[in-house]
Symmetry: none
Subunit: 490 residues, 2 copies
């Protein structure tokens, strides 16, 4: 056995344990009895401790010194292992265990606080999570920027400064587009009525299959916050239903199918290896977003969805496919990120990006978060936040320590813009397929050009490679401006 | 930190990882996508390897040398850790790995052989499993009896000779009772008709709650084979439904609730410690059996169940509570252990006990097993075995190496007999409660006198302590003889 083989055999078991941890997380959000939470925190901490010990095992350092890659793929495997080893070695085991323990109960506390609309019930917990993550960031940053150190976990090779530059190019044209849409005088009605939830779940499963989700290696359950979980042969998604808002269910499902399709699309050569997972959150989000928006909310596919909804719900008060396309893409300055249209969504993200950078730098204190959130929201959206649960309590992320994660949502949109441009050029008759609910030419192109590679190429490399152009906000903006100019007759 | 504290902190994490493995097993049997199986095998192997390494960690030996117990509970904790460490340390790592490898595929081979009704397709595998377990037993027994060494895993402190003495006292009177019932001339009809499965599941949940199953720390799902899984704050059960056989669903549920109630009833002081699990398979089975039989199949509780079934299914062809009591307790000499009535069940178990002792001692060869099984079955049951899958291929146990496990089923019945006698003396008006579906006086007594102690006392000690008498088959026999004399007018 060579050093490379020894290292990969060791790593394979670590990857398998990482999958077990993922499965435990899925369990916690879908089927775990509520009373199990304190015990689960210890179970998860024990498992995380084992994984942490393996990831910092000194033998990895020894193997890395002598391991030799015989091709590009093996070089990428070593690159990912080295990156992980160096980062994980910097975080003390006690700190990693404490973070796992605190965040495992913090999520329940957040959920109760949100239900009670009571920021004070969550604030001490958030303080503690933030303190631990800042401590971790300091250990990782080695004198560098704290936020960049956290960002590296989600979008390797990208800095907050680069993101800020992209966002600075994006924001004024989005604000302008938003203003023109709202001033257009075109009224798009909101969907109204009741849509029985079993019918929503039925269509949801049809949509998942239409977008190529492999149910023999996955499953769909309900959860408070939709997510995709797992890699390789066991990639599960969740969705949610709301009687009056079937789009929430359908587009949550398509979004999570985008994530899951990426994991399911990775070459099985990479099963249980460092390359057998999506390379970054931003690239992951590019897949969920292009499935959800550029494909799922396009004129062609919404025509198909309109038919499915009529099959299940009968006449639901929308006249035809054109009207339905407008309803699906209605622009409104709502308070909830996950319900936002394609224009406002990125404004939601930029708000969070700026606030969490300030929390991590120490410029903003947790106690001042609600005020800062509400002020910024009113400035960007022209509406006052009505209650905490529609404001800074709405997202799960910070409760589980995900600082540095939010900007990857808009990065994903930017990536999706680039990919969509290349996809449309490669498959000129795509809309004819989508109108029939046939997404295969799109999902096939994405699998062929991006998904199959898993972690082989770094985020900016794989996006440039697949889209055939340098990263830019231009394709996303062009797409949005054209789409909403048509819908709102700008 | 004292050596005791260090040891317990280490052990606590191992216990937590053991719980994770249990949860993964639950997942596999209930919700896992089929296509995930190959990946799951690697995940489970990685986790099992981690747990094995911890259980054989040399530091445990060092801690045990100096750890001091300050009370009876700490002494019991050390006793359990020492027992586990010494046993695990005696088995060479290569042998343990080979057993894990062989048994992980053996179950699939057995399942196929059973489906094909082909003993020859399973026989070489069973030979290999038996050979490995005999080798393991020799390593464990250190010159002593091989079967006793295996039994120690399931029923610590009990020998095959003691079990044989109990069974020798039990068997003739069961054979006699069986003969008198079958010759009585009383005809008890079998339940017929269709019972919609959603109705079965509704009653199943009512029964679980009636027996005190805490759904805030548990859940009920469907699986091919009912089981209970987990300890402490997360104890899950499964059940199954069959359109024409609702009793299978109801009594599987009550049986598993008995197991789960034991785990849920253990003092939370013992959470994630060696005492925080049921002490043995036999004591576990005493709980599942007393819930299922002495309580659940008694005249009082079946009256309650009759009412629930009428509520859900309407008139289902059984005239009244007395007739229903007979139908529930119908005696019939079937070939399948898991479908057997209270009299025949123990005859099934004794057959397996004698045959597996002979296999382990070498007195019986695998190739002669079908003949030995069929001869013994005809002698005990008065019926010829019609096919292998109804005979020696029916149970999964031997394929996964569970030799020494079968007798704990009947030990559990014997224990349940002793406990039931003491319970009835302590709660004279118990049947008045059970007739209303109120099991609290029974489950409260069991929790107070047995369940709360978890692994604190060895099996025979806790049974004698709770029942206030020396272990004996007499209470079980007296109960069975009285019950069936009434039902069959003997």
């Amino acid at each position: 056995m060579s050093a490379y083989d020894d290292l990969m055999a060791f790593q394979r078991e670590t990857e398998a344990l990482g999958q077990v941890a993922g499965r435990l997380g899925w369990d916690q959000e879908t089927v775990m009895p509520r009373g199990a939470a304190p015990q689960r925190a210890e179970e998860m901490a024990a498992l995380t401790g084992v994984i942490h010990n393996r990831r910092t095992d000194p033998r990895i350092g020894t193997w890395l010194e002598t391991a030799e890659a015989s091709d590009e793929v093996e070089a990428a495997q070593l690159r990912e292992i080295r990156r992980g080893f160096e980062r994980t070695s910097r975080v003390p085991a006690e700190l990693a265990a404490e973070i796992a323990k605190v965040t495992s109960t913090a999520q329940g506390i957040w959920a109760e606080a949100r239900a009670a609309d009571d920021f004070g019930a969550f604030s001490p917990t958030l303080d503690r999570v933030l303190e631990l993550r800042r401590e971790e960031a300091a250990a990782l940053a080695d004198g560098g920027d704290l936020y960049d150190a956290l960002l590296e976990d989600y979008e390797p090779g990208t800095s907050a400064t680069e993101i800020e530059a992209l966002f600075n190019a994006l924001r004024p044209r989005l604000v302008d587009l938003r203003a023109r849409v709202l001033a257009s005088g075109t009224q798009v009605e909101k969907l109204t009525g009741d849509f029985p939830e079993d019918g929503q779940l039925k269509i949801s499963e049809q949509l998942a299959r239409a977008f190529g989700y492999d149910m023999s290696c996955g499953r769909i359950d309900r959860a408070v916050h939709p997510f995709s979980s797992g890699s390789g042969l066991d990639v599960r998604i969740t969705t949610r239903t709301s009687l009056g808002d079937p789009f929430n269910c359908f587009y949550s499902t398509i979004h999570e199918v985008g994530h899951a399709a990426y994991e399911q699309g990775i070459s099985t050569d990479f099963l249980l290896t460092p390359l057998g997972r999506g390379v970054s959150m931003g690239v992951h989000e590019s897949q969920s977003r292009i499935y959800e928006n550029q494909l799922g909310r396009g004129r062609a596919f919404t025509g198909y969805l309109f038919g499915r909804m009529k099959d299940v719900f009968g006449d639901f008060g929308v006249a035809d496919e054109d009207a339905f396309y407008q309803v699906v893409n209605r622009v409104a300055p709502g308070m909830i990120r996950t319900e936002a249209d394609e224009i406002h969504y990125n404004l939601h993200v930029m708000l969070r990006f700026d606030l969490e950078r300030a929390l991590i730098s120490g410029d903003l204190l947790v106690k001042d978060l609600p005020g800062a959130w509400n002020d910024r929201f009113e400035a960007d959206f022209g509406v006052k936040v009505d209650k905490m649960s529609d404001g800074c309590l709405q997202d799960v992320h910070w409760s589980v320590g995900l600082f540095g994660y939010f900007p990857t949502y808009t990065l994903g949109n930017v990536y999706a813009g680039c990919l969509n441009q290349a996809l449309r050029a490669a498959v000129p008759d795509l809309d004819a397929h989508l109108a029939r609910g046939d997404t295969a030419p799109a999902t096939g192109w994405l699998r062929e050009n991006l998904q199959q590679y898993g972690g082989t190429y770094l985020p900016s490399d794989i996006i440039e490679r697949a889209s055939g152009r340098a990263l830019s906000v231009e394709p996303l903006l062009t797409y949005l401006e054209a789409k909403f100019a048509e819908i709102y007759s700008l």
